[in-house]
C-alpha cells in the first residue's frame, strides 16, 4: 500500500485532468500525497487564469475604448457591462451563469442552433440534461473571462483618461491624427499607465480561480482545482494546518511568476523613459470580487 513519494507523484501528478491513478487515497494520508494532488489541481487554476487573462485582455481594451466613446450607443453598454461585473460578487455571477447555462438549451430555437454549431457535444449531453456549457472548463471560464475584462477595462479606462494632455497635443503638432495617433501614442501610453494596476488584476484573477469549484460548477469525477483537493484533505483529516498552507505556498509561487512576467512587459513599455519617471509595479491587495 505504501508508495514512495516518486511513485505518488507518478500516479497523481495529472490526476486532475484524468491522467494516471483515478482512485483517491482514502486513509494514511502522506505529506507527499497532499503536495502532489494539490499541485495537480493547480493545473486547473492555471488553465482558468491564463485563458481568461489572454482573451480578457482584448475585450478589456475594446470595452475601455467603448467606455471612452462619445456616442452614447457605444458608451452606455460598456458602462453597464463594467458596472454589472464590478458591482456584484463573482460568487453570485458564477451561480447565475451556471443556472442560465443549464436553462439555455431549453429555450426554443437555441437547441437547434447549438446542434448546428456544436453537433457532437450537444447530442451527447442532451440525454443527461446538462450540456458541455455547464461544465466548469467552459462555463466558469466564460464568467472569469467577462469578469476580468470588466475589471481590466476599468483600469485601462482610467489610464486612457490620465494620458498627459501635452502628449496628445504634441502628436497633433506632428500631424498624427485619428487612427495613427491612437495606435502610436494613445494606446501604448494607456497600456504603460495602466500596467501596474493590470498586474494586480492578473494576480487577483488567479486568486479568484479558486472560487470555481465552490460556486455551482460541479467537479466531475473529482477533477477539481487546488482548493478542491485541499478541501478534500482538510475534510478527511480534520486538519487544516497542512493542506491550506500548501495551497498558499503554491499561490505565492504563482504570484511571483506573474509578477516576473508582467514586470518584464512593464519594463518594455517603459523602456523609452528616464529611470526616475518609470511606472513601478506595487502589489496592492485587491481581493475578493
Amino acid at each position: 500500500m505504501s508508495m514512495t513519494c516518486w511513485e505518488t507523484v507518478q500516479a497523481y501528478a495529472f490526476r486532475s485532468i484524468g491522467i494516471g491513478e483515478n482512485l483517491l487515497p482514502k486513509s494514511d494520508f502522506t505529506l507527499c500525497q497532499q503536495f502532489t494532488l494539490i499541485g495537480s489541481g493547480m493545473i486547473w487554476n492555471l488553465y482558468f487564469g491564463v485563458l481568461a487573462l489572454t482573451f480578457g485582455f482584448f475585450l478589456a481594451n475594446a470595452v475601455a475604448l467603448a467606455k471612452n466613446a462619445r456616442n452614447p450607443l457605444v458608451r452606455k453598454p460598456a458602462e453597464w457591462f463594467v458596472f454589472v461585473f464590478r458591482g456584484s460578487p463573482l460568487f453570485i455571477q458564477f451561480f447565475l451563469a451556471y443556472e442560465a447555462l443549464i436553462l439555455l438549451p431549453k429555450f426554443p430555437g437555441i437547441e437547434a442552433t447549438l446542434v448546428a454549431v456544436f453537433p457532437v457535444e450537444v447530442i451527447i449531453s442532451i440525454d443527461i440534461g446538462s450540456g458541455w456549457q455547464t461544465r466548469a472548463w467552459a462555463g466558469a471560464l466564460l464568467v472569469l473571462f467577462l469578469n476580468t475584462s470588466a475589471y481590466a477595462a476599468e483600469i485601462f479606462h482610467g489610464a486612457l483618461k490620465s494620458i498627459p494632455k501635452g502628449d496628445l497635443e504634441a502628436a497633433e503638432a506632428y500631424g498624427l491624427t485619428g487612427w495613427k495617433r491612437f495606435i502610436r501614442i494613445e494606446w501604448p501610453t494607456m497600456l504603460r499607465l495602466g500596467w501596474p494596476g493590470y498586474t494586480n488584476e492578473a494576480i487577483f484573477l488567479f486568486h479568484a480561480t479558486t472560487l470555481v469549484y465552490f460556486s455551482g460548477f460541479p467537479a466531475f469525477s473529482q477533477k477539481g482545482d487546488a482548493l478542491y483537493y485541499a478541501n478534500y484533505f482538510a475534510d478527511k483529516t480534520f486538519n487544516p494546518f497542512v493542506p491550506y498552507p500548501i495551497v498558499g505556498f503554491y499561490f505565492i509561487c504563482l504570484t511571483l511568476l506573474v509578477t516576473t512576467i508582467y514586470g518584464a512587459v512593464n519594463k518594455r513599455l517603459n523602456r523609452h523613459l528616464p529611470s526616475n519617471q518609470r511606472q513601478k509595479i506595487r502589489l496592492r491587495p485587491n481581493l475578493i470580487r
Partner: protein, 292 residues
C-alpha cells in the same frame, strides 16, 4: 400565514404569487438579508478596530510589536483570501475545542493525532446535542471573527499607508510645540489620516459587501443558501409547485448587490467631499478655491 393562503393548490394568479412570496420559507429568506446586513454591521467596525491596531503596531518603535504588525499586514498578500476563510474557520473551531478539552476531558491527549483531530465528545463546540439554532449562531460567530481577522489585515494595510501619507512636517511642528508622542498621535496624526484612508476604506467596504456570499461557504444559511433552496424545482408534493426558478432568484441577488454597491459608492463620494474640507490635498484645495 394569511387566511387566503390556507389552501395554495386552489388559488392562482396574483393571489398565488402573493401567497407564494409570503410563505414561511420566504420569510426566512427575507430574514437572511438581515443576517447579511448584520454581518456587515458587526464586521466593519471590528475590522476597522483590528486594522487600526495592526497599523499602530506596525508603526511601533518596539521591534517585536512592529514585526507582528507588519506580518499581519503582509499576511494577506500573495495568498487567495478564500484560503484564509476556509483555514481560519476550521483553525478557530479546533483551537476552541482544544482549549475546552483541556478543561473537560480527562487525560487531555494532544488532539492532532497523526493527521487527524480528535477530542472527547464533551469538548465539542457546540455540543452534538445542542439545537440547530446554536449551531447556526456558532457558525455565524466564527464567520464574523474570520471576516474581522482577514479584513482587519486589509484595513491595517490601508491605514498604515494613510498614516505615512500625513505630511511629516506637521508631526514635527507638533513635536516642536512640545507635544508628547501620544499627543501627536492623538491630535495630529489620527484626525488627519482619515482623508487619505477614505478611498482605500471605501474600496474595502465594496469588497466586504461582495465577500458576504462567502458566508454560504462557511455553512451559514445565508441568502445564497435560500436562493438555492427556494429556487430549485418543486414537485406537486410541495405546497407551491414550480419549475427550476433558481435563475430568477440569483438574478434577484445580483440586483440586490448592484443596488447596494452603487448606493455605497454615492455615500462614500459625499463623505470624501466632506472630509476633504480644509485638508492639504488637491481635493481640499479645489474646494477652497471654489469657495473663494
Amino acid at each position: 400565514m394569511f387566511a387566503a393562503c390556507a389552501d395554495p393548490k386552489s388559488i392562482e394568479g396574483l393571489t398565488w404569487g402573493f401567497c407564494y412570496l409570503t410563505s414561511g420559507k420566504h420569510v426566512d429568506f427575507y430574514w437572511s438579508f438581515v443576517v447579511v446586513l448584520a454581518l456587515l454591521a458587526i464586521t466593519a467596525p471590528a475590522a476597522l478596530g483590528m486594522g487600526f491596531m495592526g497599523a499602530t503596531a506596525a508603526r511601533s518603535h518596539i521591534a517585536p510589536i512592529s514585526w507582528l504588525g507588519k506580518i499581519y499586514i503582509w499576511m494577506v498578500r500573495g495568498i487567495p483570501d478564500i484560503i484564509f476563510f476556509l483555514f481560519f474557520v476550521i483553525a478557530l473551531d479546533q483551537g476552541l475545542e482544544y482549549l475546552k478539552s483541556l478543561a473537560v476531558c480527562d487525560g487531555g491527549a494532544w488532539p492532532w493525532q497523526g493527521l487527524e483531530f480528535r477530542v472527547c465528545q464533551e469538548a465539542k463546540v457546540p455540543l452534538g446535542a445542542s439545537s440547530s439554532g446554536w449551531h447556526q449562531a456558532y457558525g455565524f460567530g466564527l464567520a464574523v471573527v474570520t471576516f474581522a481577522i482577514v479584513f482587519g489585515a486589509f484595513v491595517a494595510n490601508v491605514i498604515y499607508g494613510a498614516m505615512q501619507a500625513v505630511p511629516h512636517a506637521q508631526l514635527e511642528t507638533a513635536e516642536a510645540y512640545g507635544m508628547s508622542r501620544a499627543q501627536v498621535f492623538r491630535r495630529i496624526l489620527v484626525p488627519q489620516m482619515w482623508v487619505y484612508a477614505l478611498p482605500g476604506l471605501g474600496n474595502l467596504w465594496m469588497i466586504l459587501i461582495k465577500a458576504t456570499p462567502l458566508l454560504f461557504l462557511l455553512g451559514v444559511k445565508d441568502i445564497v443558501y435560500y436562493a438555492r433552496e427556494l429556487g430549485g424545482s418543486k414537485t406537486q408534493a410541495y405546497e407551491y409547485p414550480h419549475g427550476d426558478w433558481r435563475l430568477w432568484y440569483f438574478l434577484g441577488l445580483l440586483v440586490f448587490y448592484l443596488v447596494f454597491t452603487s448606493l455605497s459608492e454615492r455615500v462614500f463620494a459625499r463623505l470624501s467631499r466632506r472630509l476633504s474640507k480644509g485638508q492639504a490635498t488637491s481635493g481640499g484645495e479645489a474646494m477652497r478655491k471654489a469657495a473663494a
